[in-house]
């Protein structure tokens, strides 16, 4: 099964490399969304520093949700999804592979680019470090839950908005612990509790979401 | 129950009596009338509209089925 996994991830990465503009869209959305907040609430540095963790996290959440709708759609359209589901153990493999490639293409770049956005909000270095760490821990959760949403809404007209509606409530714990970790560090407190909880959420999601997503794929395709 | 509700003893509080001295006191709710009645009225409205809507839906389906049966 790990062979299938590697093949599928490699395939998605190669496809993304061919369509680099499409792959860059989530980061572009993220940048635009982040920039809207100072425009909306005013440029005062003190306030921006305070809202920065929440703003970055919410933007990351929305960027993940918006980019996840296409996760299975292209494969469904050209028939390769059905082929992959026929392979024994294929359902679980494709679910995990899709979540992994989504994270590699969206979550990881976001976490890597986070320091730049931290500087936009004049965040302290320690806070920026916490931001990167919380995003590294939290964006896989978003990719896993987003995959569940994509499988549930496979082929439906309402697509992205419906997905956001059904999945965002489930992402709230990650949002709270992730943004909370950064806020704690910014306030000079230890973020260890937040990281532990975020890690627990990640493990919990990593174990259960693929099973649920595989079931959702079966529901959607049979 | 109905008889006791009407009885008012001005100035004294009996344990087995309603606590309001008058109807206007009851509606005023100690100054919080808007909030209390705002809450109760919306609740009553929802719990009246919902059963009616569901009953109408049910009636519509029954009529549809009856019409189909009549055609057979």
């Amino acid at each position: 099964m790990s062979g299938t996994f590697a093949v599928l991830v490699g395939r998605d990465l190669r496809l993304a490399a061919r369509r680099r503009i499409d792959a860059a869209l989530p980061i572009a959305f993220f940048t635009v969304a982040i920039s809207l907040f100072p425009l909306g609430v005013g440029p005062e540095p003190q306030m921006l520093r305070q809202i920065a963790p929440g703003v970055v996290w919410v933007a990351a959440l929305l960027a993940a949700m918006l980019s996840v709708t296409q996760l299975y759609a292209t494969d469904l359209a050209d028939g390769s999804l059905e082929q992959m589901l026929l392979v024994p153990g294929g359902r679980l493999a494709i679910v995990v592979a899709k979540a992994a490639s989504h994270w590699l293409l969206t979550g990881l770049p976001l976490a890597v680019a986070a320091p730049v956005f931290g500087l936009l909000f004049d965040m302290a270095p320690a806070a920026i470090g916490a931001l990167v760490a919380s995003l590294v821990l939290g964006t896989p959760v978003l990719s896993l839950l987003g995959g569940l949403g994509a499988a549930l809404t496979l082929g439906l007209r309402s697509g992205a908005v419906l997905l956001i509606l059904i999945i965002v409530p489930l992402c709230i714990p990650a949002l709270i612990f992730g943004a909370g970790a950064v806020a704690a560090v910014d306030a000079g407190q230890s973020a260890r509790g937040h990281y532990s909880l975020l890690g627990a959420v990640l493990i919990f999601t990593a174990v259960l979401a693929p099973v649920a997503t595989a079931a959702a794929l079966r529901i959607a395709t049979e | 129950m109905g008889g006791r509700r009407g009885r008012q003893l001005a100035g004294t509080d009996r344990d087995d009596d309603v606590i309001w001295n008058s109807a206007s006191d009851f509606f005023a709710m100690g100054g919080y009338g808007t909030y209390v009645w705002g809450a109760y009225m919306v609740t009553a409205a929802c719990m009246a509209i919902e059963p009616i809507a569901v009953a109408l839906r049910h009636r519509r389906v029954r009529r549809g089925v009856a019409a189909d049966e009549a055609k057979r």
Partner: protein, 255 residues
């Protein structure tokens, strides 16, 4: 073996329909009586609170509505899961019937919570743990209703909804805990919508009666909706024609 076999007879929509029809008036009557008793105690007999004045009386609908909203979500997830696991159509129908009522109670909990918060805390909304969790529960109901409405095929809709409801139920404790965590960290213990006033026995009795009243109401409304949905899905089936009693000489069921 005998009793369980007879019990499963009612697992078919055809058997459920007339049974539910007979029970609905009883549930409705129970709801009315319990509500009358609860309101009598709560609105006419319970004493005024020292700190909150008479504004606290909203508790007699806020708390029952909140409890019902949470209970119905779990019950909905349970029946949806049964319907999915055993391919039991009636269970799926009941789950779909529960959702709108659960969402309504969630809305009422939020509405009454806001009206309770304004005189006691000064703002129409407080981001305390309980109200925020209730808001998220509204989103969970909304997500379920939106998902099943977006899927045309009833069986796929039932199953997808069941999965979503199960996932939601599993997540509710986690979400609730994270919201409590969030609330205590950011705002401290001072912000919490009306911790209930120290409850005299009569207040608890009134709240209990109102909860039971809402429970009976929910049964009545959900059973009628389930009948409607069952009939909608099986509208060509033989039992449907019988149930509606359109043929002469057959006794149909009322409502």
């Amino acid at each position: 073996m005998n009793t369980s076999w007879r019990f499963f007879r009612f697992a078919s929509p055809a058997a459920f329909y007339p049974l539910a029809g007979k029970l609905v008036p009883w549930f409705a009557a129970a709801a009315a009586i319990l509500a009358a008793a609860g309101l009598y105690l709560g609105m006419l007999r319970a004493p005024t609170d020292a700190t909150q004045g008479d504004a606290y009386r909203i508790i007699f609908i806020h708390v029952p509505a909140a409890w019902m909203s949470m209970l119905l979500y779990v019950v909905m997830a349970f029946w949806a899961a049964i319907g999915w696991a055993f391919n039991a159509r009636l269970a799926s129908v009941v789950a779909r019937a529960i959702a709108p009522t659960g969402a309504m109670f969630t809305f009422l909990a939020l509405w009454t919570g806001a009206l309770w918060g304004k005189p006691t805390w000064g703002t129409w909304w407080v981001w305390d743990a309980r109200l925020t969790s209730e808001l998220i529960l509204l989103f969970l109901y909304g997500g379920y209703l939106a998902l099943v409405a977006a899927i045309d095929d009833p069986r796929r809709a039932d199953r997808a909804g069941a999965l979503l409801a199960i996932v939601g139920s599993v997540n509710v404790p986690i979400i609730y805990f994270s919201v409590i965590w969030w609330n205590t960290l950011h705002q401290g213990a001072s912000v919490s919508v009306a911790a209930a006033p120290k409850m005299a026995a009569i207040m608890l009795q009134a709240m209990l009666l109102m909860t039971l009243a809402f429970w009976a109401y929910a049964f009545a409304v959900i059973f009628v909706r389930a009948r409607a949905i069952a009939l909608e899905r099986d509208n060509q089936a033989a039992w449907a024609g019988d149930a509606v009693g359109s043929s002469p000489g057959r006794t149909g069921t009322t409502t």
